[in-house]
């Protein structure tokens, strides 16, 4: 396979997700210097194919050759990373939302080993070329959709790739930004004619301008060729039509025709007056006005984040407007009115279905919640099942259904109670053109036959054209409203898209943006020497490692909840647990039942009163009372002195004092028993001395309490708790940090760039080690100053030990995060794995020396016990380096083991 002009060769590639086939036997090749497109609706396998070509996903069957090299070999992939750029699907998915535009670009530049000067020069050029220069300091998360995509492109272009892979770069972006995006690509292309661009898109209009197309459907390749060739092949005039014609299982339907809307002085169904919504200082919806008549289909057209959803939420009563008002059939919208809600059907972007219920169960649940009588409900459900063609999937679980069916079910659910108004928030995103047509057929019937008012939002132009009237929305404002024809003719445009672009250009805000761009746009000079001399793929690059560390540190700082938890959580928990786990037994409350009432019995009882351990609470007079005060937990022990106590004692008849101890807390009961015996013995000795009946005892037992002479819990417990906290908090923060990237999708940057495993792992670990060392210092200060536990040994030994230990526990977090896929699983997984061994088997509660069996094994193979010896030892015993050598070695051993396992289990490609 050595065809140099063909940059990408895909040979018989098949890919499965579990049982589901995603790609079936795909073979294609792409010529150098072309713009190649993969077309087809969502879920046909476009992204999978791009992922495989980019080397981000692991190839299951078949081969992929890039630049005549087989990328199945990891050495080849590592080399080629420098020549490929991959921009995943989703607005700004591989960007870091809290980092600024400039910081994002710098991060990518560092990953590709560019030096500071190259980096700076390159970034400035790209920013100028894309018109992002004025926004260099803005966090990526606060950019508009179009700007995010431009930034994504900049990040992809930072290392001058030879192959640029873009996965749906313009989905959800407003038409003006889309146009600008393609102008930018064309400009770049004109200066680097050798660069090959591979794009996936669901917009057929965009695909018209590519050099070559591959149409995908259901994981199969339908056809390849230039746009013209595809149209000719199917004898159609547009790509949209051509694509429908190519689909094998569906015979092309007659074009959807919606009968024109008859106004006939119908009443106003929805009216918005000066509707405004602000979130803090951000105005999401700005003085929006419109009137929608009964039975009308009213379209809301705009890009992601322009305020469509917020407006709809205000109309459904989910959000109260900040200003202005909304009325439904002349009545002001009242979110609390339940009857209002019976008039509204709502279908949200995410298809609000219960994924775990079957189709029928979903319908049944909603019928019940809308209080339909059961016979009517059954009738209605069957009617909807057949009307929406859902009968044959009625008993299937919703989660397993394709998007198109979910969408129809969602509509069925929204209209089950025959609402007069239907509010649909982008109901068709991600659904293929045929399913979309079917959906619109249903909407048309509802509107024309049942007089349902439909308010629908979309970012598809051809859908907007089907609405009776459209309102163009941008940045919270309605730019224009009217029928499609009126809007088009008003701007003398050829189609709705062009009209929309003109409206956008006119709006003041974009005008400024445009000005900015015009003044700054200049073709980037291709002057920079490509930094490809830096291809050292296998060795550890400190620059990349540092890039990861720096970025992670910035992200933690900018996430207030995580940052506060990381800094204050341990201190809070130490204080709570330091007080909470106390084994001190003091001030034990007791009741006295003195049946003798002589000086002798009182003398005996005085012995207890005098002890600092006991505190007399009650004097009681009978057995029932004694039982009751124990059951109620009012006292922990009852002392009963029998009648005739004094007399018997004098006679030498050994009267028997009864003690009842509450055994509910065995540890306390045991200690109480010990203290009672002690007080008793003491009393006897006192009596013996004063009476001089017996010889004094010769045997003495001298207890020497070491390390903690006052035997107060906090001296032992607080340093122990410190060890426990430094086990699970660093592990937890670390585990979440990696899984977050998996969940948000930015992990792709690790797959697609020349980053090695250790660079990724250690780079991410570094800031958490620093944070954990800060935690150690604050815990140390709380222990020392707040709890007043003096440190007897060497602080520096403790410091070094703690640093090593948090390195080991963060490594444990990394290991856990290589297995888990969601943040929730990582959080609870870490808790379960770390909490039992670090509290129960580390020596915090019972000494390690006393553990046996499973407990002993757990304490041997978990690092907590080794570190607990270090903290408790240095704080209380002044343990020296000589005695702790083994513990230090063990902690280092755990770090090495955890890291090796993480490297072993962290794939460099997505499975």
């Amino acid at each position: 396979m050595n065809r140099p002009s063909e940059v990408v060769i895909v040979d018989q590639v098949t890919h499965y997700y579990k049982q589901q086939i995603a790609l079936s036997n795909i073979t294609l090749s792409i010529t150098k210097g072309t713009i190649a497109g993969l077309i087809g609706p969502d879920g046909v396998g476009k992204s999978t194919l791009l992922g495989l070509i980019a080397g981000v996903k692991k190839i299951q069957h078949g081969e992929v050759h890039l630049f005549s090299q087989n990328i199945q070999l990891s050495a080849v992939r590592n080399q080629l990373c420098h020549r490929i750029a991959y921009m995943p699907q989703g607005l700004g998915k591989n960007l870091y939302a809290t980092l600024s535009v400039y910081e994002n670009l710098r991060f990518f530049s560092q990953l590709f080993g560019q030096n500071q000067q190259q980096c700076k020069q390159h970034i400035e050029e790209l920013l100028l070329a894309t018109g992002l220069a004025p926004f260099a300091k803005r966090p990526a998360g606060k950019l508009s959709g179009g700007m995010k995509q431009k930034l994504g492109l900049c990040c992809a272009l930072i290392h001058d790739p030879d192959l640029l892979i873009l996965d749906e770069p313009t989905t959800g972006v407003d038409p003006l930004s889309r146009m600008q995006f393609w102008e930018l690509i064309t400009r770049i292309k004109s200066r680097t004619p050798d660069m090959t661009i591979l794009v996936a898109t669901a917009y057929m209009e965009e695909a018209e301008r590519y050099d070559w197309l591959a149409a995908l459907y259901g994981g199969r390749l339908l056809a390849t060729g230039s746009p013209k060739a595809l149209c000719e092949q199917t004898q159609t005039t547009s790509l949209d039509e051509a694509f429908k014609a190519l689909q094998p299982e569906c015979t092309p339907q007659a074009n959807l025709i919606i009968p024109p809307y008859q106004q006939n002085s119908k009443p106003v169904a929805i009216e918005a007056t000066q509707l405004t919504k602000r979130f803090g200082d951000f105005t999401a919806v700005d003085q929006v006005n419109f009137q929608i008549y009964q039975g009308e289909i009213f379209g809301f057209l705009g890009s992601n984040g322009c305020g469509k959803t917020t407006t709809m939420k205000m109309l459904t009563g989910l959000l109260p407007p900040t200003e202005g008002k909304a009325t439904l059939f002349g009545e002001p919208m009242n979110s609390r009115s339940l009857s209002h809600r019976k008039n509204i059907g709502f279908m949200s972007q995410s298809f609000s279905l219960y994924q775990e219920l079957t189709v029928k169960q979903n319908l049944l649940l909603h019928a019940r919640l809308f209080q339909l009588p059961s016979t009517e409900a059954n009738h209605r459900i069957n009617e909807l099942l057949s009307r929406m063609s859902l009968t044959n999937v009625a008993d299937e679980q919703t989660a397993d259904l394709p998007l198109g069916i979910k969408q129809r079910l969602s509509l069925a659910v929204a209209i089950i109670h025959r609402p007069k108004i239907l509010i649909l928030d982008e109901p068709t995103s991600g659904v293929d053109p045929i399913a979309r047509d079917q959906f619109w057929q249903l909407l048309a019937e509802l509107s024309r036959n049942e007089n349902v008012t439909i308010f629908i939002s979309t970012h598809f132009m051809n859908e907007a054209e089907r609405c009776d009237r459209i309102s163009l929305m941008h940045a919270g404002k309605v730019l224009a409203a009217g029928t499609a024809e009126v809007l088009i003719s008003e701007k003398q445009a050829t189609n709705l898209e062009a009209a929309f672009i003109r409206y956008l250009q006119e709006s003041k805000q974009t005008e400024e943006l445009q000005k900015n761009q015009d003044s700054t746009v200049q073709p980037p000079q291709k002057a920079i020497a490509s930094p490809k001399n830096l291809i050292k793929t296998h060795s550890l690059s400190w620059q990349r490692l540092w890039a990861y560390a720096q970025r992670e540190a910035m992200e933690i700082q900018r996430d207030p909840i995580r940052f506060l938890f990381a800094l204050l959580g341990p201190i809070f928990l130490l204080i709570v647990m330091g007080y909470g786990i106390s084994m001190d037994v003091k001030h034990m409350k007791y009741a006295v039942l003195d049946r003798d009432q002589t000086q002798y019995s009182r003398h005996y009882l005085e012995a207890f009163e005098g002890s600092k351990y006991f505190q007399q609470q009650l004097v009681i007079s009978n057995d029932q009372r004694a039982e009751l005060v124990l059951v109620r937990g009012e006292v922990e022990l009852v002392i009963e002195v029998p009648p005739q106590f004094g007399r018997q004692m004098l006679k030498g008849e050994s009267p028997e004092v009864g003690i009842w101890i509450d055994g509910a807390m065995p540890f306390r009961a045991e200690t109480i028993r010990g203290y009672v015996q002690g007080v008793h013995q003491n009393h006897l000795q006192q009596l013996a001395k004063t009476n001089a009946h017996t010889t004094p005892q010769q045997l003495k037992i001298e207890p020497r309490f070491r390390y903690n002479q006052s035997i107060e819990s906090i001296y032992a417990i607080v340093p122990g708790v410190m060890a426990t906290l430094l086990t699970f908090i660093p592990a937890m923060l670390m585990a979440v940090a990696v899984v977050r990237e998996k969940e948000l999708g930015s992990i792709t940057n690790y797959y697609a760039t020349p980053t090695t495993r250790l660079e990724f792992l250690w780079g991410k670990q570094l800031p958490y080690i620093a944070l954990s060392i800060i935690n150690f210092m604050s815990l140390f200060l709380v222990t020392w100053l707040f709890f007043g536990v003096p440190i007897k040994g060497s602080f520096w030994l403790l410091f070094v030990g703690s640093c090593l230990y948090v390195i080991a526990t963060t490594a444990l977090g990394l290991l856990i995060s290589t297995f888990t896929t969601t943040q929730v699983a990582a959080l609870f997984g870490t808790l379960i794995i770390t909490i039992i061994p670090s509290i129960n088997f580390s020596g915090l509660i019972s000494p390690v020396a006393s553990l046996s069996g499973g407990a002993s094994i757990m304490s041997t193979y978990f690092p907590a016990a080794y570190y607990l010896d270090i903290t408790v030892g240095i704080f209380t015993k002044a343990t020296s380096w000589a005695d702790l050598k083994l513990n230090f070695a063990a902690v280092i051993g755990f770090f090495i083991t955890f890291t090796l396992l993480s490297v072993l289990f962290l794939p460099k490609q997505e499975r």
Binding site: I659, P666, P847, G873
Partner: protein, 374 residues
């Protein structure tokens, strides 16, 4: 009527959702089995297996007799070490107790001279230090007395008869099991309801519910009864199988009353869970919020250390948490066989706290739902 129907149907939906949530089901099974069994079985606070060493400089029949009576289950077999080893081994935490029997110990005592045994105790081993010393003192005194055959000397002036109530043999597994059981119930109730709410918010289905003719109260009550029921059933199963069978702990006290208490407690903690679900914006945030709250509930509710031992400020603070009252309630019912007449106060307090959390969450629910989803 309509109200109850909606609550019922929505609750059934909750149970169906939970059935699909593998992570939660695993967490629940794990918590009700391992989290109860392992601590109860493996970590007693009672004196067991204490590591002890002896420096026997006397090496007489008496000293050997003393040493041989340091027996399991209280002590491990004693190790013999030399005087110079004491510091090193204790510093490394190898032994909790070291006995030093001086030379000529037996001889001196026989001649009526005063002689002492020194007991070195690692006082950082808080759970054993005091009790262990107590045992050692008794053992030595008894052995010495027996050795010199002093039994027939006169009776003690006063006899002491100590009876332990409610847990005669002081099995710490009873205490640990019940304690963990209470912790697990609270932990799961918060996680399940909090996560159920966040999941609906993340999937957008909660908005869907709010657009329908349903009130937030209905949505909340549905979550409370369904998740509460699941936990009650799982906890009863665990009470029977894990605590009753596997750990063989006799469950005494009025079970009916305990179930009523558990249900009231679940009402309070599930409401707390929903409250947290309205405070957090995502699952990870819920996780981070959940951790300190659960630790506080587990550690400071009086289960491990009695409230009286804590600083007054913490005692007052802990009165806000339903767990404090539930610990009081369940230890009275399960250990001391208390009846309603005795425990009505904590029971009512739990319900009152539940009502407060419920009303606050109700207020927050509608407010937070719209706000966070843009």
């Amino acid at each position: 009527m309509k109200f109850l129907q909606s609550v019922f149907w929505l609750g059934l939906k909750e149970i169906a959702s939970l059935r699909q949530d593998k992570v939660m089901l695993f967490l629940m099974t794990f918590a009700f089995t391992v989290f109860i069994y392992v601590p109860a079985k493996e970590t007693g606070l009672e004196m067991r297996n204490a590591a002890v060493a002896v420096v026997d400089e006397d090496n007489s029949p008496l000293s050997r007799q003393i040493i041989s009576s340091l027996l399991p289950p209280y002590f491990q077999n004693p190790h013999f070490i030399t005087f110079n080893d004491i510091d090193k081994t204790m510093n490394q935490g190898i032994y909790t107790f070291v006995l030093l029997i001086p030379s000529k110990f037996s001889q001196k005592l026989a001649h009526g001279l005063e002689e002492s045994v020194q007991v070195y105790i690692d006082a950082t081993a808080m759970s054993q230090a005091v009790i262990g010393l107590d045992y050692i003192q008794n053992i030595i005194t008894n052995e010495v007395t027996q050795f010199f055959n002093q039994e027939d000397s006169e009776n003690p002036l006063i006899n002491l008869n100590i009876r332990i109530r409610f847990n005669e043999n002081l099995y710490s597994s009873w205490f640990m099991a019940v304690n963990q059981y209470i912790n697990v119930i609270g932990m799961l109730a918060i996680v399940l309801t909090g996560a159920a709410l966040i999941r609906e918010r993340e999937h957008g289905t909660i908005e869907h519910l709010l657009v329908m003719p349903l009130t937030p109260a209905e949505i909340m009550l549905a979550k409370i009864w369904s998740n509460g029921l699941v936990i009650v059933l799982a906890s009863l199963l665990s009470l029977k199988l894990v605590i009753g069978e596997a750990l063989a702990i006799p469950v005494r006290g009025e079970i009916g009353l305990f179930i009523i208490g558990t249900c009231s407690y679940l009402f309070a903690v599930t409401s707390l869970g929903i409250f947290l679900g309205t405070v957090a914006n995502s699952m990870p945030q819920l996780g981070l919020l959940f951790l300190p709250i659960v630790v506080v509930m587990n550690v400071l509710s009086g289960g491990i250390t009695p409230l009286d031992n804590m600083p007054p400020a913490i005692q007052y603070l802990m009165k806000i948490f339903p767990s404090t009252h539930f610990v009081e309630f369940s230890s009275a019912v399960l250990f001391r066989q208390a009846d309603v007449a005795i425990v009505w106060q904590p029971l009512l307090t739990i319900i009152a706290i539940g009502i407060v959390f419920f009303s606050v969450s109700l207020q927050r629910l509608r407010k937070t739902v719209g706000k966070n989803l843009s």
